[in-house]
């Protein structure tokens, strides 16, 4: 296997290296790739959609259909992880509890554990005491991270970023919360059902906008036809349409990242985890 792999790799690599010699030079402004389609995008994006960030405009408008499926890919991954890993709640053998006033850890068998107690706090089986600094810093940071994420989503028209990056950052903030605190606390704030609903809802916002355009007007995802609803002219309607779908992307991406993290970090039990 090893030799076979090495031979394959060397063969493929040699072939690929050989064919690079015919490529246009790196940074060549006159390569076919830079001359055929991209000039149209660069020169007309502002006219067509009133969005200065060409990448966002192409992403959500010219190739908006691609991006809808890109979002769907994320949703698919979330569903796949859920389907593969998720284990319904089952009998637990034992759980660990921290007696907060004394710092003693206790192990309870079966369901003889204190359900609601002020002094006992449930901890993971391989728990290490929290580092106060990390804990505190994370709590402090999370708000700023989330506000920044919203900025990224909203400002995708004018600067790098957009729904996808913003969504990931939003999701990362919750993941950070889960890592710095514990998984159960995060799940309490942002439950699994919420994650599932949000991840479907995001794609639904995207595809629903598209379907709405189709029903009002002519083509799927043609935001022009949203102008009567939004009360703007047709070009601004595209800009707003892009914003709407970016929100959809952000919602899905955030929810799915969290959902996947929940499932991966707890191996599907969603009981205790990283």
């Amino acid at each position: 296997m090893k030799t076979l792999g090495q031979i394959t790799v060397l063969f493929c690599g040699g072939l690929l290296l050989f064919f690079t010699s015919d490529f246009p030079d790196f940074g060549d402004a006159n390569s076919p790739a830079s001359l055929h389609l991209s000039p149209y995008f660069i020169e007309n994006t502002l006219k067509d959609t009133a969005v200065p960030n060409v990448v966002t405009a192409i992403l959500a408008d010219y190739r908006g259909y691609d991006t809808m499926f890109e979002t769907t890919v994320i949703l698919t991954a979330g569903l796949a992880c859920f389907l593969l890993l998720r284990i319904p709640k089952r009998e637990v053998k034992s759980r660990y509890y921290l007696h907060e006033p004394t710092g003693v850890t206790l192990r309870f068998e079966g369901d003889k554990y204190p359900q609601k107690s002020d002094v006992f706090k449930r901890i993971d089986s391989n728990w290490v005491p929290y580092d106060l600094i990390i804990n505190f810093t994370c709590r402090l940071l999370i708000h700023f991270i989330q506000i920044f994420a919203l900025y990224v989503v909203a400002h995708g028209h004018y600067s790098p970023g957009g729904g996808f990056q913003g969504g990931v950052v939003l999701g990362a903030s919750v993941i950070l919360f889960a890592i710095s605190g514990n998984l159960r606390a995060a799940i309490k704030r942002f439950g699994e059902k919420t994650a599932a609903l949000f991840s479907a809802a995001g794609v639904f916002i995207y595809a629903g906008t598209g379907a709405l355009c189709m029903m009002i007007g002519e083509h799927f995802l043609n935001y022009n036809f949203l102008s009567p609803l939004l009360g703007t002219d047709r070009i601004m309607a595209r800009s707003h349409g892009i914003f709407i779908v970016e929100i959809g992307v952000a919602v899905t991406v955030m929810a799915v990242m969290i959902w996947i993290y929940y499932n991966l970090s707890s191996a599907g039990k969603q009981d205790e985890g990283l």
């Binding site: 072939l15 690929l16 064919f19 015919d22 490529f23 246009p24 390569s31 076919p32 790739a33 830079s34 001359l35 055929h36 389609l37 991209s38 149209y40 995008f41 408008d61 010219y62 190739r63 908006g64 259909y65 691609d66 499926f69 890109e70 769907t72 890919v73 949703l75 698919t76 991954a77 569903l79 796949a80 859920f82 389907l83 593969l84 998720r86 284990i87 319904p88 089952r90 059902k193 599932a196 609903l197 991840s199 479907a200 809802a201 794609v203 639904f204 595809a207 629903g208 598209g210 379907a211 189709m214 002519e218 083509h219 799927f220 995802l221 043609n222 935001y223 022009n224 599907g268």
Partner: protein
């Protein structure tokens, strides 16, 4: 009246509806699955039905008018935006996909409920996503969009087959690695095409390629795209992932994925060779036909011989699928009109045959709880209608007239003779004979051996062990015990009727294959190919 008006308003949007409906329904199914166990099935079935009807209307439209339907996504014209192209070929494949997905789905309601307890929402949603991925792959006119949809189909496919027997996660992981290599190679090929032509639209690239026939970038783009697709379609040296992945998974998923994945990949190959690169480039300039046909011949021999060695029914089917891939790839690369007609016709026929065989596997498993060949003992007396359908499917795979397998094989063989590829002809005949032996062994067991008592206590291994405790409580109510020897006890009607419909389709497809070829496939093949 209003109903029809509504329908007609949506008519121009059908190419979008056919894919958007399963997509939206998958979202609804996923969401409603959180609250209710029954609704996801209804939503999914309705969506698949709408897709199915849309594909029928589309193919009728295309055949009647003869005009290629172009649909602009987001309203942007071809090279800038993404367009959907519904021509004769894609309309035909769309019909195959939607009908197979629909029939397999409705026949497996009970299987889904038992095998994916409490996860029906996610399962049905992924089923729909897989279907819409395939639909999109078929209809899209954009090379990169094809990649995205291919990934949707692959990812949902991994999830669908990842749940099954104990071995399926490993098999699926291997499938995932190879699938990713294949898809990434394809993406790389698209990148090479982009660097050479600056475009992503298939028609646009096709119009540019003739001006740069000798470019080595184009050549390498072709090689690497084909390499990616060949991995995904499991041709001989790259087939390793398929048997494990398809045989260890649950029957519902197998019934969806096995008939469609390889066929759609072959469709993509045909599309790339004929539409993206011109037939001129593929057949005359490159001169790879000979090599590909030999690859196909080896695949056929290998698939048939390996199938002979299998004891497990589903594994045997998997190797037959590999052999059939050889049929289609070989037929296509014969490079003459009749061979390509045969390859395309065989895509349709093979999808139907494989669907029927896997549906039969689902019914047998449902009745007996076992996968092995011996579990079929005495089935002729027990389930005469199922066995009749199964026999039809088997005959079709063998290639006995008047089932459809014969007719596509006829085209392939005459194409082989016309191209002078006598080894290919020999491989086809050899594989037919091997298939005859394979299915005869099964039918013989079902016909001669007395019926065996099945006990379900240990067998139903499809429940992954983590859900096992849930299953066992419900075993008895869901798996009918088959103890009344000698009494006809058929599968439930909801499983039987779609299955019989598919089996009868096998004969109808066969008898109307002339019509299919004359009205659809003839328009697909460029006039340059004789």
């Amino acid at each position: 009246m209003t109903f029809f008006t509504t329908i007609f308003t949506f008519l121009p949007d059908l190419p979008a509806i056919i894919i958007i409906t399963p997509l939206l329904a998958s979202l609804l199914a996923a969401a409603s699955g959180l609250f209710n166990r029954k609704t996801p099935f209804l939503i999914a079935a309705a969506a698949l039905f709408i897709s199915f009807i849309s594909s029928i209307i589309l193919i009728m439209q295309v055949v009647e008018t003869g005009i290629v339907i172009e649909y602009r996504m987001a309203g942007w014209a071809a090279p800038m935006g993404i367009v959907y192209i519904i021509d004769h070929l894609s309309a035909l494949i769309l019909l195959v996909i939607t009908s197979a997905a629909f029939l397999n789905f409705i026949s497996n309601r009970k299987n889904i409920e038992t095998e994916f307890r409490n996860k029906e929402g996610a399962f049905n949603s992924l089923y729909l996503l897989f279907t819409s991925g395939l639909i999109g792959m078929t209809a899209t006119g954009d090379a990169f969009n094809l990649y995205v949809l291919m990934e949707i189909a692959s990812l949902s496919g991994y999830a669908l087959i990842g749940l099954g027997s104990n071995r399926s996660p490993l098999a699926t992981l291997n499938y995932l690695f190879l699938g990713t290599i294949g898809a990434t190679f394809y993406l790389l090929g698209v990148g090479y095409l982009y660097i050479a032509t600056g475009s992503l639209n298939i028609a646009d690239i096709a119009s540019i390629i003739p001006t740069m026939m000798n470019s080595s970038i184009i050549l390498f783009a072709f090689i690497i795209c084909m390499a990616g697709l060949l991995i995904k379609m499991a041709i001989f040296p790259l087939h390793g992932w398929l048997p494990n992945a398809y045989s260890d998974c649950s029957n519902v998923s197998a019934g969806l994925i096995a008939p469609l994945t390889t066929k759609v990949t072959i469709y993509i190959m045909i599309r790339i060779c004929l539409t993206l690169f011109s037939p001129e480039y593929t057949f005359n300039y490159l001169k790879i036909s000979e090599f590909m046909v030999w690859l196909a011949i080896i695949t056929i021999f290998f698939g048939s011989l390996s199938a002979l060695a299998q004891k497990d029914y589903k594994r045997m089917l998997c190797y037959i699928i590999i052999a059939e891939v050889g049929y289609m790839v070989g037929g296509f690369f014969l490079g003459n009109r009749i061979g390509i007609s045969g390859a395309i016709l065989h895509i349709v026929n093979d999808a139907a045959m494989t669907l029927a065989l896997f549906m039969a596997a689902g019914i047998f498993l449902w009745k007996t709880g076992e996968d092995s060949r011996d579990s079929l003992k005495g089935m002729f007396g027990k389930m005469p209608f199922t066995m009749a359908g199964f026999t039809l499917a088997a005959l079709s795979v063998v290639g006995v007239p008047p089932t459809c397998g014969f007719f596509s094989k006829w085209y392939l063989i005459s194409g082989g003779i016309a191209a002078g590829q006598y080894m290919f002809v020999a491989a086809l005949i050899f594989s037919s004979l091997v298939n005859a032996v394979l299915f005869f062994r099964i039918l013989e067991i079902a016909h001669f051996e007395p019926f065996k008592e099945h006990n379900h206590d240990h067998v139903y291994h499809h429940s992954h062990n983590t859900l096992l405790h849930h299953h066992q409580d419900h075993h008895d109510e869901h798996y009918e015990t088959t103890k009344h020897n000698g009494v006809v006890k058929e599968a439930p009607l909801e499983m039987l009727i779609p299955f019989i419909a598919v089996s009868i389709m096998l004969v109808i497809l066969g008898l109307y294959s002339g019509t299919i070829v004359a009205n659809i496939i003839d328009f697909v093949i460029p006039a340059a190919i004789i």
